[in-house]
Amino acid sequence: MSLEGHLVLALLEGLVSSLVVALTALGLSLVFGVMRIVNVAHGEFFMLGAVITWYVSTAAGSFLPALIVAPLAVGALALVINRVVLRPIRYDPAATIVATIGLLYIIQQLVLTIYGPYARPVVPPFYFRVDLPWFGYSGYKLVVAGVAALLLVATWLLVTKTTLGLYMRATQQDRETALAFGVPVDRIYASAFALGAVLAALAGVLVVPEQQAHYLMGLDALLLSFMVVIIGGLGSLPGTVAAAFLIGMTDGVVSVFFSPTLARIIASGLVALVLVWRSGGLFGDAAA
């Protein structure tokens, strides 16, 4: 394949992974923005989305029911976690990190015990090839990119145009004042946490026909989301999407030409330095 072909492939791969990463990271960013907590177990919601998809599509013989079942199940789990773990510790930032590390291991190891250590494939709901001058590309991947883009737009509309979104933004800007104006902050926290989990689960559902479901897949998703959220500015939604593209495209291009490990080393180091010198991220405001 020519250099040109390689580059087009890298950009396509980058585009698809950017959109999926944006979806996962948007969930993390939303939770951080509204609740001011870092959810270390966020990647496990992504993994659960993928694993539940395997169970549902095996039982039902079709992929599509998983698109409804998995996000609902993960969202319900998030509501329980919020009620049983996060609210009792009053969303204290450091305590939340320790507690969600604990949840990470609980979820991951339960999946290992029940689902097993296998990487299992899920048959895509349809299969077609898009023929390009250099190579044939999976049509499913392009559909995934489209669905992820739609979900991003839907989340943006939810946050900017609905009452729930208004309440979320009010809580994000000033919790005390929002409370004084009658915003049910407790319920908004629960909704934001569940919505964040649903977004991660949806990303998991979408990628599983391409990646296979495995109990350890959450950690990579978590680290990538961290990078995106930090570069994009903690809690800033447009910044998150822009950063997902920056990181997804760079990762796609660099991984095609160089070693993926080297790409990750450079990316992790740069992200840490960004957080040290610009705590608001490259795009975001100086909040947090």
């Binding site: 450091a94 604990g102 949840l103 190891q109 290992l112 490990t261 180091g269 705590s279």
Partner: protein
């Protein structure tokens, strides 16, 4: 630690070390090996506790200091044929140098940012050990058996494969770190660290350069962690990238929280308890790390001060 309160505190800590010294003559061979491992890992937790318990900085990247000591020692022994004492000093040096360099960067952040930045840098370290797998052995690691010379004390030849040597070297390393942390808590610098933990702004107002004190704490913490990593390599003849992974940043946090962060004895209690719990569960289920998760959640929800912290609050207010 002056006057009346000083003597029972020192006596208690010496008694803990003597108890560990005596235990080797009564326990079974299996427990003997287990205790040697626990003591080295407890030294790691003691180092972590200097930063979390006495300075109030929660790091999620201590695996890099432990692994720095481990790789510095392991690689010099494996490739250069360094002796155990030289290897150990190089491991300690690696921990000190890495933590000083890291400190200059990461101490510009606080709170949640500090956690994430330390985690990211540890991830860089971990991936680097994988990337250079031709040298480091990557996931597979390197086995030092055959490369490691016995420890020479005068005319004595002490091979590390001998369980008694293993146990007593582990005890010496742990005892050193343990008493160092006790001395630190009683020293004027240690008092300033606690002041930073309780209220950093006020400590700055009192005229202390808090950055220097935090850097000091991080270097002591990283140095002890590097020492523990180095000792682990010497005693168990192995270097591998799994010790640089995020799990080994979470373990010292777990051990310290379980035992009681901000107590000198807590890290030993937490490490011993959790090593046994993890060891027993790993025989029952492949998903044994679930106990790590459950214990972390329960500790945060119900017992935030840990075992020794709880004992101190209820019965022994003089515990350091």
């Amino acid at each position: 630690m002056t006057g009346q309160r000083g003597r029972p505190v020192l006596a208690l800590h010496v008694a803990v070390v003597l108890l560990l010294l005596g235990l080797q003559f009564v326990v079974s061979p299996f427990q003997h090996g287990m205790l040697a491992r626990i003591m080295v890992l407890a030294a790691f937790a003691v180092g972590y506790n200097v930063l979390l318990g006495y300075t109030g900085l929660m790091s999620l990247g201590h695996a890099m200091f432990f692994a720095a000591g481990m790789y510095a020692t392991g690689l010099t022994v494996f490739y250069v044929g360094a002796g155990p004492v030289d290897g150990f000093l190089i491991g300690l040096g690696a921990g000190v140098v890495l933590s000083a360099a890291m400190g200059l960067i990461v101490l510009r952040t606080t709170g949640v940012s500090f956690l994430i930045v330390t985690m990211m840098f540890a991830q860089v370290f971990y991936l680097t050990t994988l990337y250079f797998n031709r040298i480091t052995g990557g996931d597979q690691g390197l086995i030092l058996t055959g490369h490691l010379h016995p420890l020479r004390l005068g005319a004595l030849q002490l091979p590390f494969a001998d369980p008694a040597v293993k146990y007593n070297v582990a005890l010496a390393v742990f005892g050193l770190c343990f008493l160092l942390s006790l001395w630190l808590t009683a020293s004027p610098a240690g008092r300033v660290l606690v002041a930073v933990r309780e209220n950093e702004d006020r400590t700055t107002m009192l005229g202390f350069n808090t950055f220097t004190y935090k850097l000091l704490a991080l270097v002591i913490s990283g140095g002890i962690s590097g020492m523990a990593g180095s000792a682990y390599t010497l005693l168990f003849s192995y270097v591998g990238s799994s010790f640089a992974s995020i799990l080994y940043s979470i373990y010292p946090l777990l051990w310290t929280l379980v035992g009681g962060s901000g107590t000198t004895i807590g890290p030993l209690v937490g490490t011993a308890l959790m090593t046994y719990v993890v060891d027993i569960t790993s025989g029952v289920t492949p998903g044994y790390l679930i106990v790590v998760g459950v214990v972390l959640v329960v500790i945060i929800l119900k017992f935030p001060s840990g075992i020794v912290g709880g004992i101190r609050a209820r019965w022994l207010p003089w515990l350091p």
